[in-house]
């Protein structure tokens, strides 16, 4: 907390006019940013960062940072994050200068390529050095884009988590749940981009818009700091007289939240409600009451904002974060070795379902034992690690069987628990 006190001092006098800078990094990042610009997000400053000449030149952002050396011949990094990183390191003072004066820096990037993966962590560091809170909104590639890109993305995500204050990650693969057979490629990317932008707008509205219930910047930073492991987000919108009920129904049914399971497991929750001037306190109360019921243990911050253009509409943006118990901060920073990547990859994909198998055990361990185990894990030899990753690998198909005959039917969710999953698994009863 001490390290961010200068930030707070700088912010406090201009609570309402907190300056947010949005950096679109890499081709994907820039196109998402363009989406935001087109949709009229005012009050934020936009900047495009890329190694390619063309995309930077075509961008409509106010500020353009073109990272370039002669070696590249204006062609970009060629999908090598190390080049991206080296370039960014070289231009670090420039990046820092660009972040100067901002209270908060949003970094938008698509991980898996050269620019986004390489530059974003450096940019996050630059933003922090400049005294801003760095929040990254990233996507990871589709599984069909190949294992290399996945690995690179995972690598980049780790680096970003270590560097930024908060990372909201949208695995593109999850978007498959949202689209149908006939959705074109173009539309799909539009959806993922749109979702990222929505999440950003949600946070931005939370901070910048005049609110019924205002959120303090310090609250937000306290919430997201040290929790950048697993974030999920969902946006839902509803209209009409029953909107407060509908919006929560939609949220809970949101594929990103695995039908509310994520909510039960999360320990920090950020809810941003935006409505027209006709938004009533009762509606806010109704939404929060239902969400709180799903995550009783979570620390929730809530903000309700008014937007003139939102007449009769109610939008709820929800970001849920979870502390990873098995892998504390210290290890997270060094968890970039090759062996660890495979396990990371697997856990990320199964993250929503993990509750059924993994959540019960950790708290039962005494503190000293846990430390001992973690120490062993941290210093373990390469062989040990590979063994662990194999162990997790076998669980993927088993998780699918768990629902067996109810796989295709609508899940029975009661208080955030999926009752179709065998009781003994949910309660963590071991059969030896």
């Amino acid at each position: 907390m001490e390290q961010n006190s200068p930030t707070q001092k700088a912010i406090k006098p201009l609570q309402n006019s907190l300056l947010i800078k949005v950096f679109g990094v890499g081709n994907a990042g820039i196109s998402v940013m363009e989406w935001m610009i087109r949709n009229g997000i005012s009050g934020a400053e936009f900047a495009a960062v890329n190694t390619e000449t063309r995309s930077v030149a075509e961008s409509s952002a106010a500020k353009k940072l073109h990272l370039e050396t002669k070696l590249l011949r204006e062609l970009g990094t060629g999908g090598d994050p190390e080049i991206g990183q080296a370039l960014a390191e070289e231009h670090l003072p420039e990046l820092r200068a660009a972040c100067e004066g901002a209270g908060m820096v949003f970094i938008v990037a698509g991980l898996g390529g050269g620019a986004g993966t390489g530059i974003s962590p450096v940019l996050a560091r630059a933003a922090k050095e400049a005294g801003a809170l760095a929040l990254a909104f990233v996507t990871t590639p589709f599984a069909c884009e190949g294992g290399r890109r996945q690995r690179l993305a995972q690598h980049g995500l780790e680096a970003l988590k270590a560097a930024a204050d908060g990372v909201v990650c949208l695995p593109n693969q999850k978007v498959f749940k949202l689209i149908d057979e006939n959705t074109s490629v173009l539309e799909t990317f539009k959806i993922t981009g749109g979702m990222l932008a929505e999440a950003m707008c949600g946070v931005w509205r939370l901070l910048a818009q005049p609110g019924l219930i205002e959120i303090h910047f310090a609250d937000l930073s306290a919430l997201i700091r040290e929790r950048h492991s697993e974030s999920f987000f969902a946006v839902a919108e509803a209209m009409g007289p029953t909107r407060s009920r509908d919006v929560v129904d939609k949220l809970l049914a949101h594929p990103m939240l695995d039908d509310g399971q994520v909510l039960t497991e999360s320990d920090a929750l950020l809810v941003s409600l935006t409505g027209g001037p006709d938004l009533t306190m009762a509606e806010v109360n109704r939404v929060m009451e239902r969400l709180n019921r799903h995550c009783e243990h979570a620390q929730a911050i809530m903000g309700a904002a008014i937007d003139e253009s939102f007449r009769d509409r109610l939008t709820v943006t929800l970001i849920a974060a979870r502390k990873v118990l098995e892998r504390p901060e210290a290890e997270g920073k060094m968890a970039s070795s090759q062996e660890d990547l495979d396990t990371q990859l697997l856990t990320r994909m199964t993250v929503g379902r993990r509750g059924s198998r993994f959540v019960p055990p950790p708290p039962s361990l005494p503190q000293d034992k846990m430390e001992q185990l973690l120490a062993r894990q941290g210093t373990g030899s390469g062989r040990g690690r590979r063994g662990a990753s194999k162990l997790k690998q076998t669980q993927l198909p088993l998780e699918i069987v768990a629902k067996g005959r109810f796989d295709k039917s609508e899940p029975t969710i009661l208080r955030g628990e999926d009752l179709d999953v065998p009781t003994y698994l949910r309660r963590g009863v071991a059969l030896n």
Partner: protein, 407 residues
């Protein structure tokens, strides 16, 4: 022509079986079960139709069997519905008595009931039942018929049970697809409770739990009225599925193991015991640890009762159950299930018996048929009401109307 109107058919399209029960309502009001048809159900998951064409086939089979047994032609049915989307809540209606002498008239009673039934529900929801509970006159509770009493204000509680219209329509459409008229839809839990409980038990306060294949329904009666109803979309299928997953055997095998070796609790004696299952050739195929089997089962059943208990506590009706709880449905056949329920719900629990109905006694006194019989009983109440209310002309009109509707 007029005899057909006294035939009442209950059709339950369940997750594990489709069951059609034919009842004959004689002129003096006695109900007699004359036919029964059943078929294995394949197109239903968690109490709701998942594959309409297969479900239709199963329903046809059950109906044909019932028709043959009862030697009647089935034209209309009382259809049982269930599913996780059904919910119940209590609503109160208020009506001021305006007449000069403050005597509550028949119209006042009609009005207050109408007020209680006006509920603000989303458009896609359909009210399955709106069951009248007790009247209150000037705050005095527990009045069954306030007509003729004096008072300034009359109130009534109504238990509203509603569900998603489209999902209810799925079941109705299956019946309609077979040219069957649906007289009414009835919540399965309500039907079961009608079949199991005597008036005395309803008066004293009872809980009926119907553990079916895909869903578990429960109904609470107290002081002769329905206090609370609910559905949990968890049933015997879940037990089998848990076993299949936990013991790593195919689902059909898990089902068999459940029936042969399953109990609702784990006793110490079972530790270390095993069951060997053989493959098609009669060779040993796998050794199953009996303790694991029972533990998995016990945990699931425990959870079902706990969830019901929680809901009843939330609704504040747990203290009303004085006559005890009655189990029915296939799940009530699990050994020691009553004892488990007793431990968790802290009330006396027994397996219910479908009494107060005559005919085909031995075939019917099984917990699985409670819903089907209850449906017929519900139908007989409706029929009696209809006969009692309408004049001859009106009765004739409806009968003729029905003839046209059918053709």
């Amino acid at each position: 022509m007029f005899e057909t109107s006294s035939i009442i058919v209950g059709l339950e399209v369940g997750t594990s079986k489709v069951c059609a029960v034919v009842g004959d309502l004689s002129d003096d009001g006695a109900l007699n079960i004359v036919g029964l048809g059943q078929a294995r159900s394949r197109g239903v998951r968690k109490g709701e139709i998942a594959d309409p064409s297969v479900a239709e086939e199963d329903v046809r089979q059950a109906i044909v069997e019932a028709e043959q047994m009862a030697d009647v032609e089935i034209r209309s049915v009382y259809l049982g519905v269930t599913g996780g989307h059904l919910r119940g809540f209590n609503n109160r209606g208020v009506h001021p008595v305006v007449s000069a002498d403050r005597e509550i008239s028949e119209e006042d009673v009609q009005d207050v009931i109408k007020n209680a039934k006006t509920i603000n529900l989303p458009a896609e929801n359909h009210v399955v039942h709106a069951i009248r509970q007790h009247f209150l006159v000037d705050g005095q509770d527990g009045i069954t018929n306030p007509v003729g009493m004096l008072g300034a204000r009359v109130e009534v509680d109504v238990h509203v049970f509603h569900g998603n219209l489209n999902r209810l329509q799925n079941a109705i459409r299956t019946a309609k697809g077979l040219q069957l008229e649906v007289d009414d839809i009835v919540f399965n839990g309500l039907a079961s409770s009608l079949a199991l409980l005597t008036n005395e038990q309803k008066e004293l306060g009872s809980l009926v739990i119907d553990i079916g294949g895909g869903t578990t329904e429960y109904v609470v009666y107290a002081n002769g009225i329905i206090k609370h109803m609910g559905v949990l979309a968890v049933g015997g299928d879940h037990v089998s599925n848990d076993l299949a997953y936990g013991l790593k055997v195919p689902l059909s095998r898990a089902e068999q193991l459940k029936l042969e070796h399953g109990t609702a609790s784990v006793d110490e004696g079972v530790k270390g015991q095993t069951v060997t299952i053989s493959n098609d050739l009669g060779l040993p195929f796998k050794i199953i640890n009996l303790e694991h089997l029972r533990r998995i089962m016990a945990l699931r059943l425990e959870e079902i009762f706990q969830l019901i208990g929680q809901d009843l506590e939330q609704a504040g009706v747990l203290d009303y159950i004085r006559a005890g709880a009655f189990l029915c449905g296939g799940g009530s056949r699990i050994p020691q299930v009553a004892r488990l329920a007793e431990q968790i719900l802290q009330v006396q629990v027994s397996v219910g018996q479908t009494n107060s109905i005559s005919g085909l006694k031995s075939a019917l006194d099984q917990p699985e048929f409670a819903t089907g019989i209850g449906l017929v009983k519900f139908g007989s109440f409706q029929q009696r009401k209809r006969v009692g209310k309408g004049s001859l002309a009106a009765g004739l009109k409806t009968t003729i109307g029905q003839i046209f509707k059918r053709s």
